[in-house]
């Protein structure tokens, strides 16, 4: 009963995290009601009990260390408990499982584009498998945006020039609303998207480029006015990594880097992704998406140990979709 009392005030529980989030939220609401009644109820009682009338006397009280100790100690302990609970849920929000299905998201004024490993690109709709962890690796082409899925209780700012990520496991099939939550100009409130959680059958159909039927809103049994899915996506013939190979070759990466392990002017990219790389100044970095991006756009910032800082910057020469493909390709060089 306690957990159902505020059911209408929060969105549908579309993921496991949402269930955890709601438990903590409900606890805080009850705690707040308790303290509100304590303070404001006490105040209202005093208003009636100690109203002035002629001849009334007050009691001369200037303080009580005992009471002060209580109202310092009790809130402190409660707050530490709330903090711990909040951090533990947050921790599970941020730790994406390593087998998560990865999608690359690009925000720009005022739409969201999604790139998949199979080479597809969709706009305004992200197709994800149900009951499987999904990780979005996000960046922005222009200003700050924020990727917010209320049904999953997650949100992450999307920052130009770097990658941030968010992950979730959708447990309810259908469409889940996405909002941009960081103000980004004129059509900020129109920068909407949907996460479309597909069951196994639909997921297979989508991966095999078959047409899907109408997908309803999450939580409803009726098929709402679903748009024609094929219209909103560009069907690509080659995988994202294959697209990345084309970028790799046309931008001239092969002049200095190899994909087969031989060392040229620059380090090889075979087996690079996910490895620990030592820099010239001794620090060790993990080669993730941000590592590759920084080394392409700002190669002089950190030079790999044993190599000369001779690489030119490619900043402004590779757009965000190309960058995502390029990273997918380098990632595929196991």
């Amino acid at each position: 009963m306690f957990n159902q009392a505020f059911a209408g005030t929060t969105p549908l529980q579309g993921s496991d995290i949402a269930v955890q989030w709601d438990s903590l939220y409900n606890f805080l609401v009850w705690l707040s009601i308790f303290f509100f009644v304590l303070v404001v109820g006490g105040m209202i009682y005093f208003v009636f009990a100690y109203r002035h009338h002629p001849g009334k006397k007050t009691q001369y009280i200037t303080g009580s260390h005992f009471l002060e100790a209580i109202w310092i100690a009790v809130p402190t302990l409660l707050l530490l408990g709330i903090f711990t609970w909040g951090y533990s849920v947050y921790h599970s929000m941020t730790q994406a499982p390593s087998d998560a299905y990865e999608i690359r998201a690009i925000g720009k004024q005022w739409l969201w584009t999604f790139q998949y490993d199979n080479g597809r690109t969709t706009v305004g709709e992200a197709y994800v498998p149900l009951n499987r962890p999904v990780k979005l690796i996000m960046t922005s082409e222009d200003v700050l945006h924020s990727f917010f899925i209320p049904n999953f209780r997650i949100k992450q700012d999307v920052v130009p020039g770097m990658y941030s990520s968010v992950w979730f496991t959708a447990t309810v099939p259908g469409k889940h609303q996405v909002f941009c939550a960081e103000y980004c100009g004129t059509s900020h409130s129109g920068m909407l998207a949907k996460i479309i959680a597909l069951n196994d059958e639909q997921w297979e159909a989508w991966n095999n480029h078959k047409k899907l039927g109408a997908i309803p809103e999450a939580g409803s049994d009726f098929s709402s006015s679903s748009s024609d899915l094929s219209a909103s996506r560009v069907v690509a013939q080659v995988s994202l990594a294959e697209q990345g190979r084309a970028v790799y070759e046309t931008k001239g990466c092969l002049a200095c880097h190899s994909v087969d392990g031989t060392q040229k002017v620059g380090p090889t990219h075979k087996g690079l992704f996910g490895s620990s790389v030592e820099m010239a100044d001794g620090k060790v970095l993990i080669a993730d998406e941000n590592y590759i991006r920084t080394h392409i756009e700002n190669p002089q910032k950190n030079t790999v140990k044993g190599f000369n800082p001779v690489m030119p910057t490619f900043k402004g020469l590779i757009n965000e979709t190309e960058m995502n493909a390029l990273i997918a390709y380098i990632k595929s060089l196991k």
Binding site: Y50, P75, F148, R153, Y183
Partner: protein
């Protein structure tokens, strides 16, 4: 404390001491400067308030295109925020009421640096002029937070607003400096630190934040101006800058600024509750120290505005933990005010009503702050209407209620006339009920996922938005009515006695309005200002 209104009454006071517009514009009298601040702040409050009403009108219906176009809407919420924060809430209590009351409370003739005080006012007005000037050009549409890189790219006249806020900041620094020196050097004989009224303690803590934090804002805004003009590449990722760095800089000032806004209001409440409860303040030292506790924590919690910015998990851990501790000194104050009422003899004049309103609204504002301090909860709620509701409960429910309490409490002292109680009671209920109708539904909207700064919203959010808009009309009527009866009282109000509330602080020991240099003879303090004995339960004025 000497409890007599025996100050010689010659009919000469600060309002008729000299005449003419120039005598006001060149005055060095802290009381006149306080009054000028008050009128300026209230003018800006009118502007910011009208913008808020327009914003709510647009949100009466879902889908946008109701009253305003998207760009106009974006400019209006930017102006509403920037004006209310920089030109209303920050200067309202310290610069307006503080300027008038602080030297009187200390038994001083003026602040330590009267010329600097006047300069502060003109600096403030210069900054305000720049900001308002932008309104008549292309405006600004960045939100009051000026987040980069949008604020670098937008083609609006954001630079004028930045420049305005930059200049106004200096006024804040100078006022803070002036108050610190005044409190240290100009206390009347016998006014030891442990007899200092809590309003002075609150202003002292506020001044420290103003002096230490405002320069960081000035630097940040200056860097942003340079970024826009010279493309130096500090914040713009296209030029190798870091947009998140701006957020760190911005909140390093703007979080402490939140306490610049609330501490003085807490000071007012600490004065009003004992006077109208006819009882000593409960836990004087705890209240005084908790102001400093809050001021200290204020500087180390800025990162809680950035839990989803891309800041590291470790940083989030630390900022969430530290933020929790803000609730402790805040709780100490709240419980102490409540305990002050216990076994008192309560009078419900307007200042007390607003103090009680403060307690109700600030409790909700404070408790919802705990939601936002909790890491996981904040991830969903940040940048939604929950945050909008939270900071309005704190800023309006806290600061504005404090301002209204203080304004009614000291009105007799400032103008020498009484405000009428009955209209004040009606306006109070209009504002209180209107406020809760406006902002409480916004907590639910936010929890349901409606983001802030949305010109159009989805149809499922219609009902709560509608309720909120209707509430805003009640607030509007309440404030217009207040302006009406106060303006009338200034001309035709009943004459005020020196000490209508039978209060013990020094400003009530001189005539209403006070003479040019405050006191005919320098008062001597012999006891602390909350020495309300059990029999002392009556006031010359009753509700």
């Amino acid at each position: 404390m000497a409890n007599s209104s025996a100050t010689a009454h010659t009919g000469n006071h600060y309002l008729n001491h000299s005449k003419g517009l120039m005598s006001w514009l060149t005055t060095l009298d802290h009381k006149r400067i306080g009054v000028m601040y008050l009128f300026s702040v209230l003018t800006f409050f009118l502007m910011g308030g009208v913008f808020a009403l327009l914003i709510r009108m647009e949100l009466f219906k879902w889908g946008g295109h109701n009253l305003l176009e998207a760009n106009t809407y974006n400019k209006l919420f930017t102006y509403h925020g920037a004006i209310m924060v920089f030109l209303v809430v920050i200067p309202s209590i310290p610069a307006a009421l503080g300027n008038f009351i602080l030297p009187l409370m200390l038994g001083a003739k003026d602040v330590a640096f009267p010329r600097l005080n006047l300069a502060s006012y003109y600096i403030f007005m210069t900054g305000a002029c720049f900001a308002v000037l932008a309104l008549f050009m292309r405006g600004a549409d960045t939100g009051w937070t000026f987040y980069t890189p949008y604020s670098i790219r937008t083609n609006t006249t954001v630079i004028l607003v930045l420049f305005g806020a930059f200049i106004a900041g200096f006024s804040s620094i100078l006022t803070g400096l002036n108050f610190i020196v005044t409190i240290h050097k100009l206390r009347a004989p016998g006014l030891t630190w442990d007899r200092l009224p809590l309003f002075c303690w609150a202003l002292y803590a506020t001044s420290i934040i103003q002096v230490l934090a405002t320069p960081v804002l000035a630097i940040t805004l200056a860097l942003l101006c340079m970024e826009r003009i010279f493309q130096i590449g500090i914040f713009d990722p296209k030029l190798g800058g870091d947009p998140v760095l701006f957020q760190h800089f911005f909140w390093f000032y703007s979080h402490p600024a939140v306490y610049i806004m609330i501490l003085p209001a807490m000071g007012v409440i600490s004065e009003v509750i004992p006077v109208f409860s006819r009882k000593p303040i409960f836990g004087y030292k705890a209240i005084a120290y908790s102001s400093f506790g809050i001021a200290l924590i204020a500087f180390i919690v800025w990162g809680h505005h950035m839990f989803v910015s891309g800041q590291s998990e470790f940083a989030n851990f630390i900022f969430s933990l530290l933020t929790m501790f803000v609730a402790v000194p805040t709780g100490v104050k709240t419980f102490s005010w409540l305990a002050t009422m216990y076994r008192g003899s309560l009078h419900f004049n307007a200042p007390m009503l607003y103090a009680l309103g403060f307690l109700e609204l600030f409790t909700i504002g404070g408790l919802t702050g705990i939601f936002l301090a909790t890491l996981a909860i904040d991830v969903h709620l940040t940048d939604t209407y929950f945050v909008v509701a939270h900071f309005h409960y704190v800023m309006v429910g806290g600061t504005l209620m404090g301002l209204m309490a203080g304004l009614h409490y000291w009105f007799p002292k400032m103008v020498g006339k009484m405000y009428p109680e009955k209209p004040a009671l009606i306006a109070f209920w209009l504002i209180m009920i209107g406020f809760n109708i406006t902002f409480f539904p916004q907590f639910i909207l936010g929890a349901q996922g409606m983001p802030r700064r949305y010109w159009s919203y989805l149809p499922e959010f219609t009902l709560l938005n509608r309720i909120s808009t209707v509430g805003s009309w009640l607030i509007g009527i309440g404030f217009f009515y207040t302006a009406h009866y106060l303006a009338k009282a200034m001309r035709k109000g009943e004459k005020a006695v020196a000490n209508p509330w039978n209060a013990l602080t020094l400003e009530w020991q001189t005539s209403s309005p006070p003479p040019h240099e405050n006191f005919i003879e320098t008062p001597v303090v012999t006891s602390w200002p909350y020495e309300y004995l059990p029999e002392n339960t009556t006031m010359p004025v009753n509700a």
